[in-house]
């Protein structure tokens, strides 16, 4: 790692693990201290081997699960936090979308890495949507999406259907905010995955009431012009 860069490059190889770091970082000190913290001086705990979460193998948590309750509490707090800073339903959905966006960007890389040698870069709209409906959904929620449809009125619109989004399972939106769908968070994740695969689009979450599935949600994916043109060429 220390031999990769040219001697006068502006980039300094940086790793939180001081044992493999070379060069001198000019701006910020490394994330983990060079010596273990003294007792009573700070509340941070450091593993004695000085390895951090960034040094773990990426596939280590592939099979791990998170309790739904923990996520529900965290997500509830995220919504309350977002609510304090915005002044309308559109803004709130946008804030949740941005929160999901950051996750989606990284998730795309992780999932493609985990697919290994068989990973294929999706170039067709249907391909990437299948990736989202199957792989991404399975990774996030343990089950594939419940439906994928193409809109008949608009060429550039596709709909991903989820009968009972996990993120909304504990949330009851009050009547005065009935337009809000907190799955805007998941819409953000989807949007980031699509943007990262070079399918620029806009994704929004809409609640559709049905007798059988009272909290059915439809993610409306609206692609930009460039995507349609490319699709037409590849056809």
């Amino acid at each position: 790692m220390s031999n990769l860069n040219a001697p006068n490059s502006p980039f300094v190889p940086f790793s939180p693990n001081p044992s493999i770091q070379s060069g001198v970082p000019t701006a910020t000190p490394p994330l983990s201290a060079s010596k273990p913290a003294q007792l009573g001086s700070s509340n941070l705990r450091y593993a004695s081997s000085r390895k951090s979460i960034y040094d773990r193998h990426l596939n280590r948590t592939q099979r791990s699960e998170l309790s739904k309750a923990s996520f529900a509490f965290l997500f509830g707090e995220m919504i309350q936090y977002a609510q304090k800073q915005v002044s309308g339903i559109q803004d709130l959905e946008k804030k949740l979308n941005i929160q999901g966006y950051a996750i989606g960007q990284r998730l795309l890389e992780l999932l493609l890495y985990r697919e290994g040698r068989s990973a294929k870069r999706e170039t067709r709209v249907l391909g990437i949507l299948q990736f989202i409906a199957q792989t991404l959904y399975r990774h996030l929620f343990g089950k594939p999406a419940d439906g994928l449809e193409k809109s008949r009125e608009h060429e550039d619109e596709y709909m991903l259907i989820d009968h009972d989004p996990v993120v909304n399972s504990h949330i009851s939106v009050p009547k005065e905010m009935s337009q809000l769908n907190c799955a805007a968070f998941v819409a953000g994740i989807i949007e980031a995955v699509l943007d990262g695969s070079l399918f620029p689009c806009r994704v929004t979450a809409h609640s559709v009431f049905s007798e059988q599935f009272p909290s059915k949600t439809v993610f409306l994916i609206k692609f930009e012009e460039s995507v349609l043109e490319r699709e037409a060429v590849l056809q």
């Binding site: 309750a69 529900a72 509490f73 509830g76 949330i171 009851s172 939106v173 009272p214």
Partner: protein
């Protein structure tokens, strides 16, 4: 299982949820229910005071000719009152399930303000599905 109605009181004794499931109790106005809740809260506190044996909790079961109330007090001071028929078995199980539903659909709801009246649609739906499945 025939449950007549459920009341939930917050820490201060205020009524935060009231719902009738079956006929059997008189229909009172919402003000009456508020007064009832406050009275019950006070009585619950006194019953632990007048105990002849030291270290008693509050009132747990109240019996009358036509109904029976079971009061479940959580560690946080919230009281769940379940009104049922006099010979209804397994009210404990029902109490615990209602508490579970409360923890799931009220406490995890970001739009619910603690100690305020409960207006969560999911909680209502799940409760009705549990207590009165046919309807």
């Amino acid at each position: 299982m025939v449950i007549l109605s459920i009341l939930i009181l917050n820490k201060a004794g205020g009524l935060i949820y009231q719902r009738d499931f079956n006929e059997g109790l008189n229909k009172l106005s919402s003000n009456d229910y508020l007064v009832l809740a406050g009275t019950f809260h006070g009585v619950h506190a006194i019953t632990s005071r007048i105990s002849p044996v030291p270290g008693s909790g509050g009132l747990e079961v109240l019996e009358s000719d036509q109904f029976r109330v079971q009061c479940f007090q959580t560690l946080t001071g919230t009281k769940f009152l379940i009104f049922a028929e006099p010979h209804q078995p397994n009210i404990d199980v029902i109490c615990r399930r209602v508490y579970e539903l409360y923890a799931d659909y009220v406490m995890k709801n970001p739009f619910y303000q603690i100690e305020m009246p409960i207006r969560c649609e999911q909680f209502d739906r799940q409760l009705v599905a549990y207590i009165k499945p046919k309807q």
